[in-house]
């Protein structure tokens, strides 16, 4: 984590919040930093919106369970693998 250089109340255009927001989502932020961030977002609409939407995007990505391999793709894969195994046996 980058060393904090100034208080959140002083940060210009909330640039530092961007760094801290990801650290908070990762669980890398200290309790003090988390508390400061919460205080800041409670009084800064732009940062509150950014933090909330960033969290939602990350959460949505993490909820994505992916898809099953389509039947045709699965078939093609196994044909290729069996051919490879057969050619290996013949050598």
């Amino acid at each position: 984590m980058r060393k904090r250089r100034k208080s959140m109340q002083e940060c210009r255009e909330c640039a530092e919040l961007l760094e801290w927001a990801s650290a908070c989502i990762e669980g890398d932020a200290t309790e003090e930093l988390r508390r400061e961030l919460m205080i800041h977002v409670s009084s800064c609409t732009a940062c509150a919106r950014l933090f909330r939407s960033l969290k939602r995007v990350v959460h949505f990505c993490q909820l994505e369970t992916g898809c099953d391999v389509p039947g045709e793709v699965h078939e093609r894969l196994w044909i290729a693998i069996r051919q490879e195994l057969l050619s290996e046996d013949e050598e």
Partner: protein
């Protein structure tokens, strides 16, 4: 328990560890390789699909990945886990394909995702109404589009870390990056993703 009791307890067989299967493949057992394919086929397909963005390319990359894995398994030295090694092959296969595309799709991160869309979705709520199911499906499509529009150095990290659930340490091994570099790319990738999806979440 009484001496000589015939009581037998069925203990489910533990799955054979990946490393043991790799050793069996190296000893010439092709059944062991088939078991490894069964274990990782879905995961590798999801990585290739996320990185390449369509079924046809993802299917070819899936085959390439396992065929390369089979050819190179005799040289596998157990310096990493099998799956991080396999995911590295999959990622490299996809990156090679992306670089070979004659006219890569480059979409500005500032471009609006959909001018018609004005959706608000509570992702954390698991009890979806039909409308929310529709919105979630739409958001999923937009997510894939947004991932495809990311520069590849962000795309690989987002796919492996946030979508496939690898730890920062595992991603660093797959991509041969330091953990701080992974975190930095992850952070910037998430911001870029958020920018494209902001109107939906």
């Amino acid at each position: 328990m009484a001496k000589g009791s015939n009581l037998q307890v069925a203990v489910p067989a533990l799955p054979v560890p990946d490393e043991e299967l790799v050793r069996r493949v190296q000893a010439g057992n092709s059944d062991a390789f088939e078991e490894l394919v069964r274990r990782y086929e879905r995961k590798v397909y999801n990585i290739t699909y996320r990185l390449l963005g369509n079924e046809s390319d993802a299917s070819e990359a899936l085959q390439d990945t396992f065929l390369r894995a089979f050819r190179f398994l005799p040289k596998f030295k157990f310096k990493s886990s099998f799956y991080t090694w396999l995911y590295r092959i999959a990622t490299n296969v996809c990156l090679t394909r992306l670089r070979k595309r004659k006219s890569p799709e480059t979409v500005s991160l500032d471009e609006p995702v959909d001018e018609d869309g004005e959706l608000s979705l509570e992702i954390a709520d698991s009890k979806f109404s039909p409308e929310q199911v529709f919105q979630q499906r739409l958001l999923r499509e937009k997510l894939q589009e947004a991932i495809e529009a990311l520069p590849e150095e962000y795309r690989t990290v987002i796919v492996l870390r946030d979508l496939e659930g690898l730890s920062n340490e595992e991603v660093s091994k797959v991509l041969k990056l330091s953990v701080p570099a992974v975190k930095s790319r992850l952070h910037r990738g998430r911001l870029a993703l958020r920018e494209r999806l902001a109107q939906y979440v």
